[in-house]
């Protein structure tokens, strides 16, 4: 592939902790990806609109508020409604192990919890993007 992978990094929900999102954004940048950073307190609708306008390969969401079971599946749902389900959706943040199977069932491809080396996320994205 001779084009950069485009990734939307977003913070859904109401927590104000964006350190993790910024670390990921920087790591993806250094891995040669184009990162569209959208900042704090995004609604699922905002995330999905940005995903479409930016034509990204990946939506990476960081969430520490505890609302992941509501907000992350909502993004997947809205993407489907817009026929944009060729986008890889991943999540990260403070998410209990017990919730991960539910999120995967809802279409979030992978969840990266605290302590995950950024290289794991980068490799996962490279291996799993759906568009050539």
């Amino acid at each position: 592939m001779d084009r950069p992978i485009r990734v939307l990094v977003a913070k859904p929900g109401l927590d104000g902790h964006d350190r993790g999102a910024k670390v990921i954004a920087r790591a993806l940048r250094d891995a040669g990806m184009e990162v569209i950073y959208t900042g704090l307190r995004q609604t699922p609708e905002q995330i999905v609109n940005a995903t479409i306008q930016e034509d990204v390969d990946v939506v990476a969401m960081s969430i520490l508020s505890g609302a992941h079971n509501t907000l992350l599946p909502k993004v997947v749902e809205l993407l489907k409604a817009e026929k944009a389900d060729d986008v890889l959706v991943i999540g990260g943040g403070v998410i209990p192990d017990d919730d991960i199977p539910f999120l995967k069932e809802k279409g979030i491809a992978e969840i990266f919890t605290p302590g995950t080396p950024t290289s794991v996320t980068i490799d996962f994205i490279r291996a799993n993007i759906k568009r050539k």
Binding site: R3, P4, R29, D30, V35, I36, G39, Q46, I52, Q53
Partner: protein, 309 residues
């Protein structure tokens, strides 16, 4: 349905995909733009430029909202730098435009410069065309934070807005050649800070020497508080009216078209040279010799050109 048709019907995914294709040098994008070129030229294209942190994104957000309040649609192309080392980038202009992202009358696209100098990316012009066809009445192009000589924006916009802030240097900066010459309208943002008036005066003094019949207005604004934004938009509209009434718009578009053709010739020539020769190896070998002072760069360039003929 074909991408071209979907774009004509205002399909935002089609617009988004076509911009990506243009960015990735997909020949199909060029074919589509050829077939739809006559549909372009309708939008008022506004370039927004200025140093990093001047408030270009925030001001774009506020201007876009003011235009939306007048019932018109807006396209925004926001350019940020690409790393020369990894090819990666962080495109962060949307952070200031979050309220706009669910407005169906606004389309925002972030672009990395991908190695292009001059403040824009190579595909910016294609993206402007796509948004014009898509139906945006006004298109903002926000450049990367610029220094002194990134003037490409003036070749792409009908109106260039130069965003300045207080405290960046003395009046000698204002009379240097380069970006200070391309502003059709000036904004002094963060006007509540010390030195804002002085900055505005210095710009005015520089403009006193202009000999054209359009005197660029200098507007004090505080973008975060939405102060001075209506007035600024008024100046931008006035500039367009002036351009139309004096016939300058036509002239400027002829000149810009000429520059675009020349750019495309250069681009195609470079691609031809590098493809046809697949001279990558030859150039790499020559580079080694030139660095070791076994050859000189002038002869090396001549050798590559000779290979192609």
């Amino acid at each position: 349905m074909a991408l071209a048709e979907r774009l004509l019907q205002g399909d935002k995914r089609a617009a988004a995909r076509l911009i990506s294709m243009a960015e990735n040098h997909d020949p199909e994008a060029v074919e589509i733009l050829k077939s739809l070129y006559q549909r372009t030229g309708r939008a008022h294209v506004i370039g927004i430029t200025g140093p990093p942190g001047a408030g270009k994104s925030t001001l774009t957000d506020k201007l876009a909202k003011a235009i939306r309040a007048r019932g018109k649609t807006v396209g925004i192309i926001a350019v940020d730098p690409t790393s020369p080392f990894t090819g990666g980038s962080i495109l962060g202009d949307r952070v200031r435009m979050n309220d706009l992202s669910t407005d169906p009358g606004v389309f925002i696209r972030s672009m990395g410069t991908r190695g292009h100098l001059g403040g824009l990316s190579k595909a910016t012009q294609a993206a402007v065309k796509v948004l014009d066809i898509y139906g945006a009445d006004y298109i903002f192009i926000e450049t990367v934070g610029v220094g002194q000589s990134e003037v490409d924006i003036a070749k792409n916009a009908d109106t260039t807005l130069m965003v300045m802030v207080p405290g960046l240097g003395d009046d000698i900066q204002a009379i240097k050649a380069g970006i200070m010459e391309i502003g059709d309208v000036f904004a002094v943002n963060k006007a509540d800070r010390d030195g804002a008036k002085r900055t505005a005066t210095e710009i005015e003094m520089m403009l006193d020497f202009n000999k054209t019949d359009w005197r660029p207005p200098v507007q004090m604004v505080i973008a975060v508080d939405n102060k001075g934004v209506e007035e600024l938009l008024g100046h931008i509209m006035d500039h367009m009216t002036h351009m139309k009434e004096t016939g300058k718009l036509e002239k400027k578009r002829v000149l810009n078209s000429k520059l675009e053709i020349i750019d495309l010739i250069q681009e195609n020539l470079m691609r031809m040279i590098l493809d046809k020769s697949s001279k990558e190896d030859l150039i790499n070998n020559l580079a080694t010799e030139v660095a070791a002072r076994k050859a000189d760069p002038y002869t090396a360039a001549e050798m590559v050109l000779k290979e192609i003929k």
